[in-house]
Symmetry: C2
Subunit: 227 residues, 2 copies
């Protein structure tokens, strides 16, 4: 590794799981060298680090390696508890983790994979054209998810309760990838839009808004805080 | 709820995620009233408890509700730390969590969904016949996963290190559901088989081996500790 003495994050710009780790690092003001990993190349060196062949992977300067968004987030919370992103008593932490799992699994499967996966990842993987059926399903499913976010945001200051938490990070990073493609119908739910505007304006979010994937221009309003 | 003063776990017998929670409860000697939830009926009362409509869901006697296998496992570890299933320093805990995520996501997608999902869940959901293509893929994928388990078990006492952990629980519960169908080719990897025999003989595993899904007889060797 060329960056001795520095934490390295193997990531991809439009991977919500990678973005989740970048946001956690940003919130905790921890630095890391970002290294884009073209997972479709299945580099042997990278597979030796993470046999799952997926990003994100965090490598500490002592060689400690942590793979997967949730394991990395839990790890960072343990080594750097302030500011907390998994706060409260066990029941409050469980509610945060429930919502993280909701976005990491359900939103991922019902929206992100069908839109970002079809339109972006499939191209890099070279596994054919986007399926218009999948994209249609993704567009339909996102409406339900926006309404659920709006429902939560109407009842709570942040998605899991009174404080900004890993639940907001998970939700916002998935939405931000879909938003890069211009596929979030913000007019659908004013509460969800207002919540996203609040996350988007956090300093930790700024680097995500500066992302540019080669050959794929972000939607016009993507980096606009007043969208 | 009829069982006042008692923890309730909404579950399904062949859901590996539900089994994970049952094993964690068993290891920690915590009691819970098990309630089979036919998620395909989408009962309104259940959707009010968990809008994702999925099992497992744990309801404490004070009404605290926790949804999702990993959130429940993390919660149980916090309220009942002994015996620990997420032990060690942050890096060791990260390795346990990496493997839990491996089975919860990768094994689930590449094996469990293609075998248990196609053969069992599809029938209950009434969404058509099992896809023979999916089942073929599941049979091919499980070989790679057995080899990975064997590779880990050859190098470590348990999958994540020196001690039995949530990683062993996650791996064994997925395998146990596939094994109910008789679809684990144990002859493939002796180390993986030996590791599974050790998990299978734990007292916490016994209730899982007694499971019988109506209309679906378990494979002959399913409950056999000397398979």
């Amino acid at each position: 590794m060329s960056n001795v003495g520095m934490r390295t994050l193997f990531h991809l710009a439009l991977s919500p799981q990678s973005r989740l780790v970048r946001l956690v690092l940003g919130e905790k003001r921890m630095e890391a060298h970002l290294r884009a990993e073209p997972i479709w190349d299945r580099r042997e060196e990278f597979l030796a680090i993470n046999p799952a062949g997926e990003v994100p992977v965090l490598v500490e300067d002592d060689g400690t390696t942590i793979a997967g968004a949730t394991p990395i987030a839990e790890y960072l919370e343990e080594v750097c508890p302030e500011p907390p992103l998994l706060h409260g008593d066990p029941a409050e932490r469980a509610e945060i983790r429930r919502l993280v799992a909701w976005f990491d699994r359900k939103f991922d499967r019902e929206v992100t994979e069908l839109l970002v996966g079809e339109k972006v990842l499939k191209r890099f993987l070279g596994i054919g054209e986007p399926s218009s059926e999948a994209i249609r399903a993704g567009h339909a499913n996102i409406l339900i998810h926006l309404d659920y976010i709006g429902w939560l945001a109407e009842r709570r200051a942040w998605l899991a309760g009174d404080r900004f938490s890993l639940a907001d990070v998970a939700a916002a990073t998935h939405l931000s990838c879909v938003d890069y493609l211009g596929d979030v119908p913000w007019e659908r739910n004013a509460e969800a839009k207002d919540w996203y505007a609040r996350v988007k304006s956090r300093p930790s979010f700024r680097p995500l808004l500066a992302d540019h994937v080669s050959g794929l221009r972000p939607a016009k309003h993507y980096a606009d805080l007043d969208f």
